[in-house]
Amino acid sequence: MVFPKWTNKIPLVLLVSVVSLLCFAVFAFAYWGSPKHYFVGYQPVQPIAFSHKLHAGELGMDCRYCHYNVEKGRHAGVPPTETCLNCHKLIKSGSKTGTAEIQKIVDAHEAGMPVEWVRIHKLADFAYFDHSAHVNKGVSCVECHGRVDQMTEVRAEKPLSMSWCLDCHRNPAPHVRDRSKITDLAWTPDGDAAELGREFMKMYNVQPRTDCSACHR
């Protein structure tokens, strides 16, 4: 006998370990490679410590005061610096950050240079998302951006993956609400969200497309 008896198990052990390794690799790619893992939670440092929690939450400003193109065009739009100055011409000092952060806006405006905000929500170049088409049909900001009114620094809340988009396009009812409550991020339905949503779907004639060319052009 040249080989000891335990060597008979080598093929089996090899098979089991290769299979489980492959399984792990698939799992690892599906888990760590998915936007749910690598995108959700993305929270870059912004050039100005602007707090959505303060403005949209505590002060109760409507989202559309700054993102005023959301009902008109593809992009909701980051507000021009002059929009900030509407208030900050007078308000020169913040309750938490003092004058330094607000001064950055004034300086940028005077220098005529744009503030370089770091982009968080970004779709692939071949995907065309239109804010107006969603907001006008009763899909609230919160559905994709989460409770921004509770975020001091904005972080990515939803994966924005294609399958996540399709989840809603295939079953929109729970995500459609009264248009007047679009920017009310804290709003919760009285009763069954899906049932209420179906009513608004009828009212707004919501027919979400699942055609490829609806988003890919």
Binding site: H75, A108, W117, V118, F126, A133, R217
Partner: protein, 1035 residues
């Protein structure tokens, strides 16, 4: 390889053919066409180097900067920034394009445009429906101007002798020169420019000439327009041009006149001609076009009767028509010659043909038109307009309008037309004699685009001070001391008058990308005009002509693009005395081989030679790209020994890869010779050859470099457009010509349906029917169509398209419009030779009939959006699938590049990205991309989408407005929008009231390859010709 078998019997067996190779049924053609991409393409001749391809592809690689990729964090994508405006421009919504009216002027011809702007960068040019010279249509050149704007090879700063400097340095250099000139009254000062119909520029020019009274201004255009003016000057005493109303004309005789493409005002002509081309109106009201021409033009392709006549014989054919009309009782103004002495059967035109034409014109007095082309001498124009007068057409189908270029002159508002060539010759002589101390060239290129015997370029250096204002370095700027950068028309202000007298304003869509100035600005600064910015010059000019409330009026003019002041002046018949001398000066019809020089359909006189879109656009008739060639007819080709070049297999060892090679010939004329590739084109007049101008530029950017042969080297100033005494010798060399005519062949299936009006009126339902053209068993599906998929095409809005082959002229404007809208790359000559041209929309050109004298058919061919799409069945990854509204979607991000779809497409309309054609763009070039369309990567299939981005935009707009229906006409694909003859109609085929649904119900409507049960969404309206029954009997 086998010789071309051009047996007439062979011709009769095929309804239509694309090339001589297809007609002859040569095995090489079959091999070439059956392979989707030519076999052996990898070993294709070494004369087109890969290096050259890369040059074209990455025209500005050297300028490219690394963008956007600043640091990766883990596996996250690179950090991107959003840069908001500081102060938001009023009414701008990011992502929603804005549209502004402006005006493009080309050689004095003004066309109103509407330009799409995305966040301040112009991306697409459309026609202004309110402008009479556009009516919503555009030409290929208009569409391609966008590419010129973002060309990284534009001049960016002034330079002296090739070294970059500043405008200040130029003014420091120029001001003392002009101060001295002011003291001596401008002695020795010369300006040279192209034709301009801008009132405000004319005001600056007149001021300059007043300030420097001894200075001279030379207006020179390489392509002629003064023949028509001289002809009408003889009749009216004014420098006038004919303005045609083809919609009112039912009988049209065009003598060497390509009024549908290369003549001025061709966009309006196409629209009007199409309006009169409705076969349902019957033989009396549908127009009939007679064309007499030496070489195929698209107008000849639209003809009902076409005669091949040498260019020098065309005026004599016109005189023969005059004689025939007179003998049939028409009183013709005195032409200074005895008409009875003119032979009836001039130059290959039978007297019966002439008689039938004359009868037809006579029986439609006031509703006919006789036109002559710009390459014909003034005498021919005078005769044609005299005939229009005699036939009562003047005032109805023809108006004589004082040329806007001349109407603007304060000193000579309606005097004698300027003779550009004579003026250039005089300037050359002045330069030679040292009489010119300062020469300023404003946006012109006489060193290249002028007759070789003037040797103009070599003489420029004799002027002590010389400057060229030009957008890209050219042959003229290379020899002047100063090279000054010119603003693009989308960067500056201006105005221009159209032929009918309508003035329109030009406004900038973008601030100048570089340190450039407009011609009016440079002239104003040099000569001390009151205003020195283009905006102030234009505005002050119009403010002085308008009364109170100018501000509001100015804003409205800018918005509409049209100035509501003034109008064109008419010219009236005053007598014929000067006509006689013009007619008697007509040269006798030439004997032997004659060579024509004409502007290229795409590059014109060479000014667009560095535009890759236009270089790669196939010529409408020859389908050649990236080159010009000596065009000769099949018979002449045989005489010259160039039609059996394929027999050279033993000598040259040519293989299938050499399929596109053609013999070189040496052309000797006017004491100069040029080696040029030869191409056999059916339909040429006997003993006539044609060489297009505009190619073979010497000093040009990377795109136009090495493209074609410079025909100007053969041109003599004595007879610049026609040469006789031509010698052609065959050389023992071959040259690869990138011709697309055999690409994407449909192998002779009956996809072009055409016939005569009589046949159509007899039984309209039968005319284009399947039974008649393509009898096949009833279509049957392999699967149950009702349960296949989830879509019900009988519900909702379903998109479809109808293309009217009867009004399509084959001008190719749609191809460039599609290219601009859909970010389609150009691939270069080498790749076109490999059959890898990327145009989503192509214009198939077919010949029918006799090989020497065929007819032309055009068919725009693009994705047919089949309901039962064969491409979808074979895609292994579902990258091409259907949508609810019947579109065959192409999903780039799913495509893995198997190319099965392309193999299975019977229409051969799918295009594959063999290389990453789009990653070489500089930042400036990236600005031209349409942000609404994905830029495709290597390894991805692409094809016509029906401009799905426009469909989705309209859908979202309708939905936001609370409506479910999109109004008919709210969506126009780029091809249909640019089409000057409005031949492409798009809309909802489920709405019975839509234009497209009505056309689909028309008896002339037919779908392609119906036997395959593809159910294409695009269909065609069969072409109907309206031949003269009198001539049909004869034949």
């Amino acid at each position: 390889m086998s010789p071309l078998n051009l047996d007439p019997k062979n011709a009769a067996s095929k309804a239509s053919w694309k090339s001589l190779e297809e007609l002859s049924g040569s095995p090489e053609f079959k091999d070439f066409a059956e392979h989707e991409f030519p076999a052996g393409a990898d070993t294709m001749g070494a004369d087109i180097s890969r290096r050259r391809f890369m040059q074209v592809m990455g025209a500005g690689l050297a300028f490219a900067g690394v963008t956007g990729l600043s640091g990766c964090k883990g596996i996250r994508r690179p950090e991107q920034h959003i840069l908001p405006y500081n102060n938001m421009p009023e009414s701008l919504v990011p992502g929603v394009p804005q549209f502004y009216a402006t005006t493009h002027s080309l050689a004095g011809e003004a066309v109103g445009l509407i330009v799409e702007s995305h966040e301040g960068r112009p991306t697409k040019v459309e026609g202004n429906p309110a402008h009479p010279a556009s009516r919503g249509g555009t030409s290929k050149q208009h569409q391609a101007t966008i590419l010129d704007l973002y060309n990284p090879e534009r001049l960016k700063t002034p330079s002296k002798g090739g070294s970059d400097t500043t405008w200040d340095a130029f003014w420091n250099d120029a001001n003392p020169v002009f101060a001295k000139l002011r003291d001596n009254g401008g002695e020795g000062l010369r300006f040279l420019s192209g034709a301009s119909a801008s009132p405000s520029f004319r005001a600056v020019r007149d001021h300059a000439m007043a300030a420097f009274p001894k200075a001279r201004w030379t207006t020179y255009e390489a392509l002629p327009r003064d023949n028509a003016q001289n002809g009408l000057y003889a009749l009216t005493g004014k420098a006038a041009e004919p303005l045609y109303h083809f919609e009112k004309a039912v009988r049209i005789a065009a003598f060497d006149c390509d009024f549908l493409e290369s003549e001025p005002n061709s966009l309006a002509h196409s629209r009007d001609f199409a309006a009169g081309r409705n076969p349902d109106k019957g033989a009396e009201s549908m127009n009939r076009l007679y064309v007499i021409e030496p070489a195929f033009s698209v107008t000849g392709g639209s003809a009902d009767h076409r005669l091949r006549v040498k260019a020098s014989a065309v005026p004599h054919a016109l005189l023969a028509l005059a004689r025939e009309l007179q003998s049939q009782g028409l009183s013709i103004p005195d032409l200074g010659v005895s008409l009875n002495s003119i032979p009836r059967n001039a130059e290959g035109i039978s007297s019966a043909w002439m008689k039938a034409l004359a009868e037809d014109l006579l029986s439609h007095r006031g509703k006919s038109v006789v036109t002559v082309g710009q390459y014909q001498p003034a005498g021919a124009h005078a005769v044609a307009q005299a005939l229009n007068l005699a036939l009562g057409n003047v005032g109805s189908t023809v108006e004589w309008k004082v040329s806007p270029v001349h109407a603007l002159s304060a000193t000579n508002p309606a005097g004698a037309p300027e003779n550009g060539l004579a003026a250039l010759r005089e300037l050359a002589a002045d330069l030679d004699a040292g009489r010119v101390t300062a020469l300023v060239v404003l946006d012109a290129n006489p060193a290249y685009a002028s007759p070789a015997d003037l040797a103009f370029g070599a003489k420029i250096s004799k002027a002590a001070f010389s400057a060229t204002l030009v957008s890209e370095a050219n042959e003229t700027s290379a020899v002047t001391t100063w090279q000054l950068p010119l603003s693009h028309f989308l960067e500056t202000w201006g105005d221009a008058v159209a032929l009918d007298g309508t003035t329109s304003l030009a406004q900038p869509l973008i601030a100048p990308l570089y340190d450039t100035l407009d011609a009016s600005e440079v002239l104003a600064k040099l000569t001390g005009y009151a205003q020195t910015s283009a905006h102030d010059i234009v505005r002050a000019h119009w403010a002085s002509r308008s009364g109170l409330g100018f501000d509001a009026q100015w804003r409205k003019w800018l918005h509409d693009g049209i100035v509501t002041l003034g109008g064109g002046a008419d010219a009236a018949y005053v007598g014929t005395a000067p006509v006689g001398s013009l007619v008697r000066a007509l040269p006798a019809a030439g004997q032997g081989l004659e060579l024509m020089f004409r502007g290229d359909a795409r590059l014109l006189d060479g000014r667009f030679a560095n535009n890759a879109w236009l270089q790669e656009l196939p010529d409408p008739v020859t389908k050649l790209t990236w080159d010009n060639a000596l065009l000769v007819g099949p018979a002449l080709g045989k005489t010259l020994g160039i039609s059996d070049f394929l027999l050279n297999e033993e000598a040259t060892g040519t293989t299938l890869a050499d399929y596109r090679k053609r013999p070189m010939v040496r052309v000797t004329v006017n004491g100069a010779s040029l080696e040029v590739a030869a191409w056999i084109l059916p339909g040429m007049a006997d003993d006539a050859a044609l060489l297009h101008l505009g190619f073979g530029r010497v000093q040009v950017g990377t795109v136009g470099d090495e493209a074609g042969f410079n025909a100007f080297t053969l041109v003599s100033s004595k007879s610049p457009y026609l040469a006789s005494g031509v010698k052609v010798e065959k050389l023992d060399r071959l040259y690869a010509l990138a011709c697309t005519q055999d690409h994407w062949s449909l192998m002779g299936r009956p996809i072009v349906r055409t016939g005569d009006l009589e046949e159509y009126l007899k039984d309209p339902q039968e005319y284009a029917s399947e039974d008649k053209w393509n009898k096949h068993p009833p279509e049957k599906s392999l699967w149950d169509e009702k349960v296949r998929g989830t879509y019900d095409f009988s519900k909702g809005m379903q998109w479809g398209m109808v293309i009217d082959l009867n009004s399509c002229t084959g001008c190719n404007a749609c191809m460039i419009a599609c290219q601009a809208e859909n970010n389609i790359p150009t691939v270069g000559k080498e790749q076109v030779l490999r059959g890898r041209d990327m145009h989503w929309l192509r214009l198939d050109r077919y010949f029918t009939g006799n090989v020497e004298d065929p007819q032309l058919e055009f068919q725009p061919m693009t994705c047919q959006q089949c309901e039962n799409a064969p491409c979808e069945e074979v895609c292994p990854v579902g990258a091409t699938v259907h949508s609810h509204d019947g579109l065959n979607d192409m999903v780039y991000n799913r495509c893995i590049g198997t190319r099965y779809c392309s193999n299975n497409c019977p229409f051969k309309v799918r295009r594959f990205n063999f290389f990453n054609y789009n990653n070489k763009h500089t930042e400036t070039e990236q600005m031209r991309m349409n942000p609404d369309v994905t830029v495709r990567f290597r390894g991805v299939m692409e094809k016509c989408t029906y401009c799905v981005q426009r469909v989705q935009k309209a859908r979202i707009e309708a939905k936001n407005a609370g409506s479910e229906r999109i109004a008919d006409g709210a969506i126009t694909p780029a091809c249909g929008q640019s089409c000057p003859s409005q031949s492409i109609v798009f809309g909802d085929i489920n709405d019975p009231e839509s234009r497209v649904a009505k056309l689909k119900a028309h008896p002339r409507n037919y779908g392609l390859l119906k036997e395959l049960n593809l159910k294409p969404r695009t269909s065609y309206l069969a072409r109907v010709r309206n031949p003269n029954p009198a001539l049909a009997l004869q034949a």
